[in-house]
Symmetry: C2
Subunit: 144 residues, 2 copies
DNA sequence: TCTTAAATAGGAATTATTATTATTTAGAAT
DNA sequence: ATTCTAAATAATAATAATTCCTATTTAAGA
């Protein structure tokens, strides 16, 4: 689903967050950029459109978005935080050779796992969600 | 499988790594500590047994172990790196309320997912492995 | 148009991790 | 047991990612 500035403004209003140009551009940049970027990568992209934005502002806005459920931090081998817009339930494909990460949508597989975990309860643990991190090699370049 | 210092020394020799007291104690600490600790947590634990160890040494040894396949970094919401001894294939349970992470062994579920991914190839991607990150609440305290 | 709480810019501080260099040491060779 | 040396470590500085602080700006309600 295409995240237009209008939709972003609407969403921010729904959440009682002031609609600032910085907030709009950060969320749009993240929505348009499916590479699960770090804060620094988002900053470098955003600064092209907003030369005065401060890196602290980027971190602050991302943290606000995470707290409000618009954005999530994705779990990866953690030397830097990476971000993703919250969208339909999905998983991730991680390249073993690079930092590339792609979304992986598979409702069927998610259903299989979800049902399995419902039927086979984990002792001492109440399941509330899961993410499948699949690692391997990207064989076709998306850029070709 | 209990990781004794003897087994650790054996493993290091197999990999042509010098057997130093620091290396032994770090691997033992990690093997005895199933909490998927950060480097800082490992350092705080190890320094009780080796008061002169340097934090740089801990990072260095962990990196060596990761490179050699003895230890892996686990993927989590990445503000700090977390480590785990490589053992039988397993997944992780993440607490939504705390930093607690526990191992989750389930050969059956892993088999289901593995077979699904074999049968249903992901276009442009060659699967080599996967980890299931399950989040929720720990309802029974392991410490009780 | 005015007001003000919220947000941002700018930059300092903190923290996690890596790099550098001098010194120590594991272990092979004798 | 001793010697030698490449590998490893200690100590500390440097770097990078992230957070914090404060003065200023601004979104939006009145």
């Amino acid at each position: 689903m295409m995240m237009t500035p209008e939709l972003i403004r609407k969403k921010l209003k729904e959440l009682n967050l002031k609609v600032t140009p910085q907030r709009v551009v950060i969320l749009k940049t993240l929505a348009d950029n499916k590479s699960h970027p770090t804060a620094e990568e988002i900053y470098r992209e955003v600064i092209k459109k907003q030369p005065n934005i401060a890196v602290g502002t980027v971190y602050n806005i991302l943290e606000t978005y995470v707290n409000r459920g618009i954005v999530e931090k994705i779990s990866s081998i953690g030397d830097k935080m990476r971000y993703d817009v919250v969208s339909e339930d999905h998983h991730h494909l991680f390249s073993k050779n690079s930092d590339e990460i792609e979304d992986y949508f598979n409702v069927e597989l998610a259903g299989i796992i979800g049902r399995y975990l419902e039927v086979n309860e984990i002792p001492g643990f109440k399941v509330e969600g899961f993410k499948l991190n699949i690692s391997g090699e990207f064989t076709k370049r998306g850029k070709n």
